[in-house]
Amino acid sequence: MRTYELVFVVDPRVSDEDVVAMTQEYKQMITAGGSQISKEESWGRRKLAYPIAKLNEGKYVLLCIESEGGKSSLPAVEHRMRQNDKILRYLTVRTDEDLKRAASRHPKTAGRAVESPTGLADAAPASGGPGGPGGPAPAGASAAGEV
């Protein structure tokens, strides 16, 4: 299975409702292509690090997409975004390979993120999500689990 992250920046003059409507449209295109949206995040109005089209702010939207290989609707979505001049920027990144590689680097850490190994049942959830700063407690716990 492939996972993607799609972030796009919308002109801040577009109203929030319209942003939602636009997002809805892209989501529909994606789901129509046989993929799922696993996460949707709106970062709201955010200052741009540099002006784009003489604008200093933008509205950010993040979509996480899960796709079952095969044909993807993402090129079509990107094409749509390119045509829409309300979209200042977009970026699609395929994440499954990198995450898998990252997980294989530290199998102990990754295993902890997904499912805590023996004896850590209550320590792991408290330590936060995957990739969180390795606090002293989980680090020590994983060292113990190694033996």
Partner: protein, 77 residues
């Protein structure tokens, strides 16, 4: 007779990502990336930051992606 030699203590640099066990550098994590872009907004060389080669590579990619989305500046003018 011999002049007291000045002793320089050099702190050993460690790769932040190795220390924190970060294996996937997320381009959305602006706070993290910001630590590696000094005043001129250039990417901090690993000679300075002590980041290991692997993680510098990942970091570089993440910074470039973040720049595209205007999360991080290309330059300061």
């Amino acid at each position: 007779m011999a002049r007291p030699r000045k002793v320089f203590y050099r702190r050993r640099k460690v790769c932040k990502f190795c220390a924190d066990k970060i294996d996937y550098v997320d381009f959305k994590d602006v706070k993290l990336l910001q630590q590696f872009i000094p005043e001129r907004s250039k990417i901090l060389p690993r000679r300075i930051s002590g980041t290991c080669a692997r993680h510098q590579r990942l970091l570089q990619g993440a910074i470039k992606r973040a720049r595209h989305l205007a999360l991080i500046p290309f330059t300061t003018d």
